[in-house]
């Protein structure tokens, strides 16, 4: 009689086993899920800072300057002493256009959109000109490019404050 009681669980024991089992299972699943969620975020981010100091206006010759393209994704374009900071993201589907000095144009390798040096689109499917970033001089007189503020041509923002600096 007493042997039989040991081999079978009573109601209370059954429920406590069940609770322990479910809690263990739930905890393990939650732990795994949190690991998976953590895995979706990279360990190290190599993304460049969103604003950077770009020297002084005298550093730039007339025309398109590519020195910040690989580090920050920005072309500096100088025309008649006026400096602007252009995004290097194609407005069609977000590829990175190539600057072709011989043809004096930007050309996107994905669908063939072309832009003049000032960023105006003229060929291929790009629907609007390259975006421009905020550019200003800090108190030391250095140029600062701030990528968080965008100026769009079709909204008439290229002449607004901060879209260019005159040197």
């Amino acid at each position: 009689m007493s042997d039989e009681a040991k081999t079978s669980l009573n109601r209370r024991e059954f429920f406590s086993f069940l609770a322990v089992g479910w809690i263990t299972f739930g905890a393990a699943t939650a732990g795994l899920a949190s690991l998976i969620f953590r895995f979706t975020y990279p360990n190290v981010v190599f993304e460049p800072a969103l604003d950077f100091i770009a020297g002084v206006p005298g550093d730039y010759a007339e025309g398109v300057d590519e020195r910040w393209k690989n580090g920050f994704g920005v072309w500096i374009y100088k025309k008649d002493g006026r400096l602007v900071a252009m995004s290097n993201i194609c407005t069609h589907l977000g590829c990175i256009p190539t600057w072709l000095p011989a043809e004096s144009k930007f050309k996107c390798p994905c669908h063939g959109s072309g832009y003049y040096p000032n960023g105006i689109n003229f060929e291929g499917p790009a629907p609007r000109p390259l975006e421009r970033f905020k550019i200003f001089r800090n108190p030391e007189g250095k140029i600062v490019v701030d990528k968080t503020k965008v100026f769009r041509y079709e909204k008439g923002e290229w002449n607004s404050d901060g879209a260019f600096i005159d040197s």
């Binding site: 690989n70 407005t91 069609h92 072709l100 390798p109 994905c110 063939g112 291929g124 629907p127 609007r128």
Partner: protein, 360 residues
């Protein structure tokens, strides 16, 4: 020989090759009694193989087609050719039988006999699985994966190509805004393909091959599949080089090839070129012509199509099914229309409202 190669380079530019493809496609659909014969299939196969062998002997063409990415496309071209022709051949055979008053081959008493899935089908499938596995292993041993350097968010390879099965879509994007060719049209394509069994309730052709009884359905599907998908993949894969510029099959991929392709919107053609005045400030006034053309195409054309051609389909299919079909056909035809407008008039967008990210 050099002149022939120059001629082929010239003819394979998208305008000529696409037009030629459509002409041949329409001819094939019209003369199915010739296309659907073994003689024609063998002749076309031999002709294609001979021309292909001759083209491969050219070093420039060979360097393009022997890229590890491009070899599967060559193989798949053969499979597409085979499966399309074979279905049309079987359909033609049945059409001849039906015209003579006989049942289709699939309907003869000996072919109506049924067999068990096990072992007849399962064994076939097993052998297919084993064959595919062996094929893929051998492939993986002989051709290395075309890996490149680590990704860099500020640099793109030139040309930057999508996986081969998306190159038709990438070629489509040359003529459209990314919202249209990247989101709206693919969604319509997928939903439209899912909807085909619900729109097309015609019982003819169920369980047997036929072309004559389903002329419109088969031609419309094959047009979208062969001309607007497979053919554009060929252009995107073999004929698009650096800067997504067109290069003939025997043309060296010169990064500095200069092509004049200034594109302008319909609003600029109308206001600036035709009327000689500046673009109006109000965007709805500016785009009034685009709005009219889009409206004409999507709305006003429907009763016209119905009156001219669609009324018998409308009676047979029912109104809802019919209008859904017209919508899908109009959506499909917008791609070739847009392509020809670009080639003939350098037209970028019929309706250009980048302020709302709406460009058609």
């Amino acid at each position: 020989m050099h002149m022939i190669k120059l001629g082929i380079n010239f003819l394979s530019s998208p305008l000529y090759s696409f037009t030629l493809f459509i002409v041949l496609f329409v001819l094939a659909m019209k003369r199915m009694d010739i296309v659907g014969t073994k003689k024609f299939g063998m002749g076309l196969l031999i002709f294609t193989l001979v021309v292909f062998a001759w083209m491969v002997s050219d070093p420039v063409f060979f360097s393009v087609i022997s890229l590890p990415d491009n070899i599967p496309i060559i193989i798949l071209n053969g499979l597409v050719f085979w499966s399309t022709w074979y279905a049309l051949y079987k359909g033609n055979q049945n059409d001849i039988r039906i015209a003579a008053g006989e049942p289709p081959i699939e309907g003869t008493p000996e072919n109506r006999e049924k067999v068990w899935a096990w072992p007849n089908l399962v064994y076939t499938e097993l052998f297919c699985i084993i064959a595919c596995t062996i094929f893929l292993i051998v492939w993986a041993i002989f051709f290395k994966a075309p890996l490149e350097e680590p990704a860099n968010p500020t640099w793109a390879p030139n040309p930057a190509k999508a996986p081969w099965y998306f190159l038709g879509l990438q070629e489509m994007l040359v003529y459209f805004d990314p919202w249209m060719a990247g989101v709206v049209l693919p969604v319509i394509i997928i939903i439209g393909l899912i909807a085909i069994p619900f729109i097309d309730t015609n019982p003819k052709g169920n369980g047997y091959y036929t072309f004559k009884e389903r002329k419109f359905a088969i031609s419309a599907f094959l047009f979208g599949w062969l001309a607007l998908w497979v053919f554009l993949i060929q252009i995107g894969t073999f004929l698009r080089g650096p800067n997504w510029t067109f290069y003939g099959p025997f043309e060296f991929w010169d990064t500095h090839k200069v092509v004049a392709e200034n594109n302008i919107n319909l609003s600029e053609i109308m206001w600036i070129k035709l009327f000689g005045i500046a673009l109006p400030k109000n965007i709805f006034v500016r785009e009034v012509f685009g709005l009219i053309v889009t409206g004409l195409y999507l709305v006003a054309s429907v009763p016209l199509i119905t009156k001219k051609w669609g009324h018998k389909y409308q009676e047979r299919m029912g109104t809802v099914r019919y209008y859904l079909m017209i919508f899908l056909i109009l959506g499909m035809m917008s791609l070739p229309i847009k392509m020809y407008l670009r080639w003939f008039f350098n037209l970028k967008y019929i309706l250009a409202m980048p302020e709302f990210e709406l460009n058609l």
